[in-house]
Symmetry: C2
Subunit: 202 residues, 2 copies
DNA sequence: ACGATCCCATGACATTTGTCATGCCGGGAT
DNA sequence: ATCCCGGCATGACAAATGTCATGGGATCGT
């Protein structure tokens, strides 16, 4: 019995390469591919895969949203998240949205096939080094407003932009950013935003 | 006669997948792999590949530096740069450092093997869409100091940090950043730095 | 030699950003 | 009920950041 896999990854060459890698395995078969987050559910409903292998960074909605949607519309399909190291913070969100596992592109290629088999067998598949950093990162220390303010000032937006977007006084936004900066131990809201993003606290 | 290829890419799983992809081709053989920029030259000297396939983003010195070094120490080896879309600006630097081609991870997987064959045949291999955006981006409008100042303030460094690093007055750094901001039409040095980086003007 | 032009450097000034003290309000704990 | 605490909001103040006018020096064309 071969495992049927849906592969979602936006970079065509990487997608093709992963497909080639998995095709070397006798018991694994790629039955669908997606290049965008919003292609995942339709293609999965069509192809009925046993496992969905989802990259996080994709256009058209990220892999975690796709995972949650897939959980609803095709619950028997196991979801494996595949992403770059340094995004350990996504682990929590991924497991909350019902993913069966979380693999790193930095891990050896052999772990991909074995991860798929273990997911099919009902195991939770989490890269050990990733679990460690996720635990040490811990829970977000940011309050709701602080998180919003940071997120809104991600791409060099000015304070008044953020204030307008959140319907707040500029002073208030400054304050939220200030406390966020202090909590994260950075010198700028820029550093703070990058750090929070990296830890998945956005 | 098979083409011997060195493959440099930091993410192990992607590296393994690309290796699998190329192994499907009868006339292509992976003879060496590198996970870091500074591993490229030693491994190339050892394995004597016909083509080096280099990712740009790598720890231990980026792929373009590796390309230049390889050009010196193993000139008969053709260099192919492989990178993510949106980094079109690197194209100029890549060709200046003697690369034979520039491929996109967003391109179809089939182009990888054909790109390698064309490089061996002496052709220049450049993704057409990439060439267009590189041309439309044009030459960098930044002067030397402006570029240095922007680069040094990339990760939320404060002005005085930059000033110290460049042995300049704070006012001078502010001025360079200011002109850079005006030239790039942004509101922050943050936006300016991101834009310049994306265009390869760093 | 001369001016024109460009890059670089600097300090003065205005604006933006970060920090602080203060107060409001709702949800436990006593 | 009362107290305490944490999140939210605000304005005053200090520090960092961006803009401007100015001048020195190198290079190029005339």
């Amino acid at each position: 019995m071969t495992v049927q896999v849906l592969l979602a990854e936006d970079q065509a060459m990487v997608r093709g390469a992963l497909s080639a890698l998995l095709s070397l395995e006798d018991d694994i078969e790629i039955v669908a591919e997606a290049a965008r987050g919003d292609e995942v559910v339709p293609k999965a409903l069509d192809a009925r895969p046993d496992v969905a292998l989802l990259d996080i960074e994709m256009p058209g909605g990220d892999g975690l949203d796709a995972a949650a949607a897939l959980r609803k519309s095709l619950p028997e399909c196991r979801v494996l998240i595949l992403t770059t190291f340094g995004r350990a913070g996504y682990l929590r969100r991924a497991l909350e949205s019902g993913a069966a596992g979380f693999l790193l592109k930095d891990a050896p290629a052999a772990e991909l096939a074995s991860g798929i088999r273990r997911a099919v067998a009902g195991e939770r598949v989490v890269d050990p080094s990733l679990a460690v950093t996720a635990l040490s990162d811990g829970e977000s220390p940011l309050t709701g407003r602080e998180r919003e303010s940071l997120a809104a000032s991600m791409n060099g937006a000015t304070i008044s932009d953020v204030a307008r977007k959140l319907y707040l006084s500029e002073g208030t936004v400054r304050n939220h950013l200030s406390t966020a900066i202090k909590k994260l131990g950075t010198r700028n809201r820029v550093e703070a935003a990058r750090l929070a993003e990296r830890k998945g606290w956005l």
